[in-house]
């Protein structure tokens, strides 16, 4: 490949697996720094592909397509946490430069592996049990207490592939609901708030975290983030410890999103992590000097991380489905910074854009 060494100079090519809005915003950030972008997208003319120099069409797990992307890229990254970890690991094994590491995908893609990994590194999660068949449910429910949340071990996001289990009657129907796939039963987290921390680790091991965001979900989909969240210094420090410990354990490079539950006593549990830029970090695009997208590009390109201090208080609201049709009103609202993703089909619940509302700190 004859690729330049890190830090990659401007003019190098960043390959992004995934053609959606996260890839699009990463591509825009890469362009600001003088990089070229190549995208691997499942369909031509993708939101990310339309703002990139090159677009390859293929499956995210297709070894040939991934190799084709890697061949024209100086570093490969991804916008999507369900890119098969093994496919990324295969690229790494072939000597292509990839970040974040494939291992971060492998760990995060299986909820049992993810929670076990977190616990093994001293990072607290809800109690959980492995469910291989409906027969495992009664004992697990007894151990974890009712109600508990049954989730597929793999895939499923935005609330899909999940079912609450309250009693014996539910057990079977819940398992049917998730298509009898290998599952995890999670104890209910008695949380008072959902928080998240967006952090980054550079190739030199340097780490930085943005202030926490407080998040509200509706029907399993993020509706609203407010950042910086009002939290105690102790809680902020614990969130940072969690993110930094996790990144260190994964030998991570790039931006990571860690979803947290705050309990009534102020302690934190890790809900899950995503080895990529994160919807709850979109506030940084208008609220910080270097946003999560540029931070990710800096990290994977071997550049120094940028500052993470907030410049303003930001309320981020997702525009779901036809909510984005309100663009004429939103464009006329001087308090709203409007981001639209260039997606064609406004299916119900689909993330079409977001707005950031800024107020002074």
């Amino acid at each position: 490949m004859g690729a330049p060494s890190f830090p990659l100079p401007p003019g190098s090519t960043v390959g992004i697996v995934g053609g959606g809005q996260l890839g699009r915003m990463m591509a825009l950030a890469a362009a600001r720094l003088g990089f070229n972008v190549a995208v691997l997208a499942r369909e031509a003319d993708s939101p990310a592909g339309r703002v990139s120099a090159r677009e390859i069409v293929g499956g995210y797990g297709d070894p040939a397509a991934l190799r084709q992307l890697a061949e024209i890229s100086d570093v490969v990254t991804f916008e999507f946490e369900n890119v098969p970890g093994a496919a990324i690991a295969a690229l790494e094994a072939d000597g292509y430069r990839v970040a974040p590491p494939g291992r971060a995908l492998t760990v995060s893609q299986d909820r049992v592996t993810e929670k076990s990994f977190l616990n093994a590194h001293g990072l607290p999660t809800v109690a959980f049990a492995v469910i291989d068949s409906a027969a495992d449910l009664p004992h697990a429910l007894q151990k974890l207490g009712a109600p508990a949340l049954l989730k597929t071990r793999r895939e499923g996001y935005d609330g899909k592939g999940q079912a609450w289990v309250t009693n014996a009657v539910d057990e079977d129907s819940a398992f049917v609901h998730i298509d009898r796939r290998p599952a995890i039963l999670e104890a209910r987290a008695p949380f008072v708030r959902e928080l998240s921390i967006i952090a980054a680790r550079g190739r030199d091991g340097a780490m930085a975290a943005y202030p926490l965001a407080e998040n509200q979900h509706e029907h399993g989909v993020l509706r609203r983030s407010i950042a910086p969240a009002e939290v105690s210094p102790a809680l902020a420090a614990e969130a940072e410890r969690i993110a930094f410990t996790l990144m260190g354990a994964l030998d991570y490079v790039g931006v990571i999103g860690v979803e947290l539950f705050e309990l009534a006593d102020g302690s934190l549990l890790v809900n899950e992590f995503a080895p990529r830029v994160h919807n709850t970090g979109h506030w940084t695009a208008d609220g910080c000097q270097v946003d999560q997208f540029e931070q990710h590009i800096r990290a994977v390109a071997g550049w120094p991380l940028g500052p993470t201090a907030p410049l303003a208080r930001v309320e981020m609201l997702n525009l779901l489905g036809d909510e984005a049709d309100a663009w004429p009103t939103l464009a006329a609202d001087p308090t709203a910074r409007l981001w639209l993703y260039g997606k064609g089909d406004a299916e119900p619940g689909r993330k079409m854009g977001h707005i950031n509302r800024l107020t002074p700190l």
Copy 2:
């Protein structure tokens, strides 16, 4: 064409004539609002083309290439003030939607026409004389006083195509220096500061201006802008009057850059205007909620103009030629917001990028 009416909905295509850094930053802004971008560039793989969905290669005055761009665009705009005004006017005559109007190009492309237009609308400039041959110089120099600045009427930027004339000995050599082209002799402006105002006019006639920038040139090339410039309210109001009068007179749509001389008594002269986004407005990309690039896209797409209030004080420094090689240092400087243009060849004096340094207002 069956193009949608204004305001253009997200998903519409903005055509940009010009493949350089101004087109690139316009394309990035358009992408944030969900637009697609097509670029007409003189060479393939241009800085703007690499962040756009479509790139057409052709001359900026090539009627076939311009028509090809217009055919796939819902509105056509330009990044370059030397796009032949007649070519743009021809597109307009054919019913394609273009903004800013071709007339703004025609007026600004000839320094005599430009100053005459400004004066006719009550906007002050330096005194000037038309120079068609060297024989016109003695009388003009006597009228305007020495030294005076001889410039070609057309083209020439960043100090090219200019020569100072002090006395009879200079007259001939100056005319030779500018290749004996039709020229203008301009009285020396006894300015104390160079200022500029970036303003915008929407399709509904609404107008907005950013705070003034104070500019420093070196060898005829912009080195540094500081904004908001420290000026009296009266001066700011006069600058706004100039920009708004000019835009009204041109029935302008889009962002305009007006370069001003501040005289010792606080009065202003118009140096020249550029019917496009402007280097002295790059500070807005980190210093304002809606920057000049998004403002331009909003205007040409028929969207409402965005707010122009400053969020910070910004010092913008151009990175010329190999100065951009300092990117590793600049990337590590938490006070610098780095912009690189994706240009290959760092010829001396070529604009390769810029940095914005922010301080609280």
